[in-house]
Amino acid sequence: MVKFAVVVFPGTNCDFETVEAIKRAGGKAERVWYKDSIKDYDGVVIPGGFSYADYLRAGAIAARQRIMEEIRELAEEGRPILGICNGFQILTEAGLLPGALRPNKIPRFLCKWVHLKVVDVRTPFTYLYEEGEVVRMPIAHAEGNYYIDDPSKVRIVFQYSDEKGSITEEANPNGSVLNIAGVANMEGNILGMMPHPERASHYFLGSEDGLKVFKGMVEWVRS
């Protein structure tokens, strides 16, 4: 069975619900402490939270831990690597994705539901969505303001939009370049996203829009 590692750094706090969401999507997942090995897994999810309490810069210290080298190797083999929120911050800090996540334009933590437009449906995480589909998920971060000097270096996967899919300034919760909410590497197998798909994976939590991210990832590995 397809098995994912959900990496737990000191301060990671969305690990349990991310494992839950992968299970709901039909996959198998285990929490893996950052000192252990992830070599035997089919893919890796770096979940949200506050690794090292976000001291210095969000994700900066986790990105320099040894396990990131193993993740880099798995990524080079083409396995799917997903970073959610703090996971996205860690991936950029580790140089696995280009760009940087800076403090929000209003420098506060912001927890709210947003609309996202799925703009790239050719990644292992998004091929179950329709191109241009508008979905709802919550964000919860203080440093989600994506910056990149040259946007052609990444594949833009999710953009903050209004409910009709227009990419407006009002719909941008944190000031990110081009309303970017999630990006992938050119190969498409590394995705980083600020919104929390695992928090939108159950009817009672307000939406199941996020489940397709995990379903896609699980199915993609399986086939």
Binding site: P10, G11, N13, C14, F16, E17, E20, A21, W33, K35, G48, G49, F50, Y52, A53, D54, Y55, R108, F109, L110, C111, K112, P138, A140, H196, E198, R199, S201, H202, F204, L205, G206
Partner: protein, 553 residues
Amino acid sequence: MFPHEEKLIREKLGREPNDLEKAMLEVMWSEHVSYKSSRKWLKLLPTKNEHVILGPGEDAGIIKFDDKTWIVIGIESHNHPSAVEPYGGAATGVGGIVRDILCMGARPIALLDPIRFGPLEKEKNRYLFEYVVKGIADYGNRIGVPTVGGETEFDESLDNYTLVNVACIGIMRPEHLVHSYVTEPGLKLVIVGNRTGRDGIHGVTFASEELGENAEEEDRSAVQIPDPFTEKLLIEATLEAVYTGKVKALKDLGGGGLTCAASEMVGKRGFGAIIYADKVPLREPGMTPLEVMISESQERMLFAIKPEDVEELGKIFEKYELEWSVVGEVIEEPKFIVYWKGRKVAELPIELLTNVPTIEWPMKEYRIEEDVETPQISLEEAFEKVWRSPNVISKRWVWEQYDHEVQGRTVIKPGFDSAVLKINEEYGLAITADGNPTHCYLNPYHGAMGVVVEVVRNLVSVGAKPLALVDNLNFASPERPEVYWSFVETIKGLADAAKAFGLAYVSGNVSFYNEVVNKPVKPTPVVAGVGKVKLEKIPRGPREGDLIGLIGE
């Protein structure tokens, strides 16, 4: 301590206590730790019914949700520390109540933060408001416990001051219950977490006095710097340790520090302890045994463990990169003995520390309710006034700074009458917290009842059946006869209202001496309640065409 208490101690001890002993007695006999002015009256509260597994008396209360699931709940105030250092005070308040839940063996799953301030027109009050919220946000968010509800109120009487209450909810399996007291001698006492520094020395005595004019400069040692990073590791390490079944007793180090945690842990069932104070990992050079014994450094836990299991549990603490150290042991003899570098530096009968006599202050009734004329203003004007009030407008600015979604349970988010957490695929837990100082000031008895009734209404309005309550009593100095009277009236009101609904209080907190420069705060009981709701049955907002009805008087 009052002179008559010092005298009593001298008599019981048959000698003058030395400086260290005096300092330990002082924290244990402080209002904050001993509940000496309130204990007698708290007995009036109903504390038992079919839902209650564990009522007041330990670090938090426990109720039964279903056969496999218990819910743990506690509430705590951090008023004084927040008034002098709003960011750190509020944050460490969150840390304290979270550890209280943790030490029963439960995973903390939600926070509520009823917070109160003076009018926002004043710079100082805005500063307090902004930084209290930031403190709660930074701490709660970093430890991954969602703040799903609370209250935010502004009142004249709180000018330059703040009431910061925090309630925490935990979830556990019955087999993981750990008590806060030991039932056998020979156990090792192990301290885990942050190093001990000079911060928070005399914190509890500080919390048992009114704030003076120059509080800032004077009370430096009473504030602590929050360390949510260590707290998060403590949560995971503690739960992993608890799941081994080898933790015999567990307490967090809060007010009164190691003295309080250790003496209460061993004294409850008549045992004693030897503490090797020099074995406590220290942050600063040159600390004295006195400082070590009463420091209130945050993010520390005290474990009682069988000697043969110490190494195994130590490995768990090390996995989470936490420092730990064996600092003492449980002994048969009911004595509290402290060693420092091989020398005995204190020896007290345990009950002298844990059995503090109650105090009853004089009471004086007041009556300030009177008829007032309804102001003659237009409906528009009235509407405008009400909707502009900071007490009525949406508190979105507050709860958007809180990660209210983390852990993936939040079904009903902030902004409604109660929050609802998903407990399993079928049922949820509704939680809410309410207070109403204006009403309580006018008539403490009716006001207190009103608070309970509001909690019940808020639970019912999301479709939940109320299960249990906790109360946090924020009052001015009990030495003021009117205040003490209002305190007792409040308890009677809380008791009568709860009885009327068949509800019990499973935990609570009393905070006295809430005054700045001789200005007492209004009687402010805050009640939090939890209820059980079938997820499918939660009313999901009105639709166009629905009829609106009004029930009741």
